[in-house]
Symmetry: C2
Subunit: 361 residues, 2 copies
């Protein structure tokens, strides 16, 4: 399942989607920020979309006139300082602001004392609720004190099962990536993972691998252990693991790299072997990291982590949870899994019948 | 000038530097976070560095026992959701936490209403002060209400000159980059900027260009307008501008790209021309973007934006400013410029005497 659905009126997100730009750009244009580098053409497109959708920038004037209206707390480990998860905060903040509440964020850097102190501060300020977010999808021990307010675990799962959690559907993502390569005609599909599948605290590694195996099984292909490497999620690891995969007796014609950094390493390794993407080897990544995936040459086909939607939904659940723990509409312990959409670019093509001519053979 | 100097006792930053790892890694290790992927070797190195420096993770126990101790507000436009500026928040937060105060962050996305509401909320909560940060270095109109508390403008400059500001020394950075290429023996040095130098709201473009011109002048080289392009700071722009520069009658032997994304585009363009970095063309970037510069092949020599130090210093100034506006030790309207250190990797070499053999000639 499931994206957050029940919005009221057009949002900045809607204007951004209609204009084909980021929310940041919409905000820059509609607030007429000085010193910004938005082209006249983009500016016009945004204004036109806002007009057409009836988006009003002064939707919160009422709340502002009424004075301080509380806030929603957002406690993250590294999520707010990670180079790729900014959209999770953008999404959470956009939804909070639609309700007239600022989102106040603390980045704990994993420091448990800072986390405790920050939560005490937030609670003493009577926050409407707290979003507790992880930088990457894992199973977390959640602070006891979160039981005192509406709280949601975001991009991770509550180990105790007490709080509602929001996480990407990793298994479906791995399945979709592999299915896409199968549909292009590939039968020898390698996978470079971002960790070990037996690390229970890292559901992304286990889930993406399980999806890969399910897609192969559905296609009647027995997995080849030579083609499935654990990896480490970094560019140099992707490079080394790709060299290893391509040195197999019967090397793969396609690679599913379980994150975009690994895929970048794969591109570099394939290039060093004189192999072209996608003519010689197809590549699919995971994350749709905005600074990376569209800038690779050719652009990387990848799965998007739906951070903005997940962030929105987390705040939605906090806003809905006006009772004490246990009476929340979302239900404690429920995990909502968000589908990771496939973003198609230019890194996948049918298998190349000429591929025996690998230069290193 | 000038890094922040007067710290009290070893910080997490010091442990990270001593162990050669990120602050995030130090925090993960010292707080024994579960589900983390830190190697035993790294874990040992961090623990050893912490022990040797006498770093104590429970330095804030006193504050915790005393209950809530206030907070410092951090209002950013996009800085907290940008893919490269996380360290500015890490630095600010680390310094705030050393004083026992959580840093509460609001990302306004440039929304002026949200900014106003957030500041009202922060002030009603009696924050110790506010850091007002920009995603990239520009000249900002600062909200009036910031005059009511100790406030510092971070990674930008206050257009009114009322508040102390902290910004990178762009001119010195551009000079250092160009000087480094001159020192390697280059005389034909192209520059691809990140905007137009006459955009007064974008001091990074004007400053880096001025530094480039000063270094050339010092070396007795008249700037060639053919070798100086405005650019747009994006990867495709770097690609296109590099093709243009290399098509000049007397193409450059070295490129100063005014950000790392532009440099990545330059790498791609040079590769498409069959030219190697650094054997055929040397490249220097700007930003030291952590997901990018070390992952290019070869690793990119670049200037680092000292975000962590700048973030630390902003909080330092807020903490020092215990009087009303005007009596602050930092002095209103003062801008502290932070040097951008050169990070040497493998993208610079002496000019290649064989370079006449460009394949496209």
């Amino acid at each position: 399942m499931s994206r957050a659905g029940n919005r009221t009126g057009p949002t900045m997100h809607d204007v951004a989607a209609a204009a084909g730009v980021s929310q940041a750009t919409v905000s820059l244009v509609l607030n007429d920020a000085s010193g910004t580098r938005v082209s006249e053409e983009t500016r016009h497109r945004v204004q036109e979309s806002a007009r057409r959708l009836g988006y009003r920038t002064n939707a919160h004037a009422r709340v502002l006139r009424g004075g301080v209206a509380g806030m929603i707390g957002f406690v993250g480990d590294f999520v707010a300082t990670a180079p790729f998860a900014g959209k999770i905060i953008e999404g959470a903040q956009a939804r909070a602001w639609e309700a007239g509440l600022p989102l106040l964020t603390v980045n704990t850097g994993g420091d448990k004392e800072l986390e405790e102190s920050s939560l005490e501060t937030m609670l003493s300020y009577k926050v409407a609720g707290v979003v507790y977010a992880g930088m990457y999808h894992r199973v977390l021990e959640v602070p006891e004190v979160l039981g005192e307010v509406p709280a949601v675990v975001l991009n991770s799962r509550d180990a105790s099962g007490r709080l509602p959690s929001i996480a990407p559907d990793e298994e479906l993502g791995g399945y979709t990536a592999t299915r896409h390569l199968l549909d292009a005609g590939h039968r020898r599909i390698g996978m470079i993972n971002i960790g070990t599948p037996d690390d229970v605290a890292l559901p992304a590694a286990a889930g993406r691998r399980a999806g890969y195996l399910r897609a192969l099984a559905e296609a009647g292909i027995a997995p080849d252990p030579q083609l499935l490497l654990d990896g480490d999620g970094e560019v140099p690891g992707g490079y080394a693991n790709t060299l290893e995969l391509m040195a197999a007796d019967n090397p793969p014609t396609a690679l599913f790299c379980a994150n975009d950094r690994t895929a970048w390493g794969a591109y570099q390794a394939l290039e060093s072997l004189g192999l072209r993407v996608p003519e010689d080897v197809s590549v699919v990544g995971f994350d749709n990291q905005e600074t990376l995936a569209p800038n690779l040459r050719p652009g990387l086909t990848t799965l998007e982590l739906p951070f903005a939607e997940m962030g929105r939904r987390a705040v939605e659940l906090v806003l809905a949870g006006d009772g004490p723990a246990g009476s929340r509409p979302a239900g404690p312990g429920r995990t909502e899994l968000f589908e990771c959409p496939l973003i198609e670019r230019q890194s996948v093509a049918p298998p190349n019948p000429q591929r025996a001519r690998y230069p290193h053979k």
